[in-house]
Amino acid sequence: MAEKILELENLAVSFATLEGEVEAVRGVDLSVQAGEILCLVGESGCGKTVTCHAAMHLLPSNGFIKEGTIKLCGQDITHYGEREMRALRGGTMSMIFQDPLGTLNPTMPIGQQIMEVLFKHQQMTRQEAKQRALEMLSMVGIEEPEARFDLQPHFFSGGMRQRCVIAAALAANPRLLFADEATTALDVTVKAKILDLLLAIRRQTNIAIVFVTHDLGSVARIADRVAVMYAGRIVEVGTAEEIFYEPRHPYTWGLLSSLPAFARENGELKYIPGMPPSLINPPAGDAFASRNPYALAIDYQKMPPFFKLSATHAAATWLLDKRAPHIKPPISMKAGYN
């Protein structure tokens, strides 16, 4: 049994706004093991980013953890203060974002930005830190790191900048990395290289990665497990094979069938009608019911529990209750259909 790096238990996060309390995350259970890549997928506003920010204690001032616990390497960090979190961020846990320019200091040479992390988290001398920073740069695939060590971020292309961000995020040997839409803004060939870089780093360092994205193609390339989120809850979780080849939640069906790659095989491009519900006073039952063509009467009244389908696969839909009518999944992705 591999070590559990991150465990979220019944995590609920809300934001206080003038319109009322926005229940952005509503009871998320999730765990990630060492060496595992977990992808969080869903539409914008489903709570995937907020879940990561809550785990890093990076919520904006009007956001708060309402319920639940966050454990990092077995330690409960739910009520850690800013000083304790600072020791963890960039040390044990790290995060990379969509926009590398927003993360990097535009006036500071790249090498120095990586050394900063090392000075903070690992009591290194200047010499050692520089050595480690150079190693990191070559690990993320930056050629001639010595020559580029003293360049500011604007000398680098978008893909190179994201590599520098990854180097800085991983410099202090974290156990857990959150990657929030880290490849979304990149071109396809660059995106493929960054995904492969993350896979290589995982092999070398056994780091756990939580990869947030709405690009299901990237998910297929790197995910060991996938959690599908909708309206602040996880609606289906399973291995990548289970989610792509045997999806059981109608929302997962909707997401997969809106992919052009799938539509080519099956004629028409499908899409999920309507909009996600407001999370100020969210609906009592299944939040997806109003957009779900397979919704049952009970979906409008009662939140579905998780139905276990295998040791790794579970979905929260009343369709899996033994009293529900049997519905054949409208999509059946097969391996190698490409």
Binding site: D187, K193, L216, A220, R221, G254, S258, P260, K270, M333
Partner: protein, 281 residues
Amino acid sequence: MDNAIMLELRKVSQHFYIHKNLTVKAVDELDLTIRRGEVLGLVGESGCGKSTVARMIAGIYQPTAGELVFGGRGKPRVQLIFQDSAAALNPRMSVAEIILEPLRIQGQDYKSPAIRRRMAELMEQVGLAERLAGKLPGELSGGQRQRAAIARSLMVQPELLVADEPIASLDISRQAQIISLMQRLQKAYNFTLLFIAHDLSVVRYISQRTGVMLKGKLVELAPTEELFGHPEHPYTKALLSAIPVPDPLYERQKQILDYDTRQPLGREMCEKRPGHFVRVS
């Protein structure tokens, strides 16, 4: 599709002069033929010049060299749809004013009941509820704004619609809606569609012919399934191998090909198979 030529780009270039030592060749001696009624996809990575091509076709930029030659029916009515719908729509105009604006600019009687009926019909076709007519763009979602932009472009019955990354800034579930909407409208009105995107799977789904651009030039142009099934140019092969597909077992064993963009692209386009052009040295 009657195969008649609508528009031909002949050795068209767009060179931007930055300062005395630097000229950016955004588009460089590009040859491209657009046929009446077809859906032509144009793909490439950022900076390859695809948006510049869109702007030259729409007449926003004048080519610095080369010429645009029109087919038998003369200069087509062109409309352009942009990626960022928030920036493309006037934030102080209501949806109705936005949709009617092209007619107002053209000096037509945009207040006539016939035009009003046509606007209501178009709004329904693009899936905008009638009650949204009085709303400002800021009150709409990204998908709704893109629908308004599409309705506006159709108001003047374009013969050629140039869509420059129309779905890149939309959420996943909205992307599929806008693509199938554009496809439906193209069939209903039979306009020619130039669809520009970096997402190759979308282009593969919607277009009949696809062109691949690199460094301001076309490197390959072919019927879409032919291009995706039998790519010839090494850059096309590399690009196609990089598209992630939603199939984990396939993705995990897939090899991504490398292409060094510093190598020469090849001098001219050559027809390898009927309709399949590849740049060769």
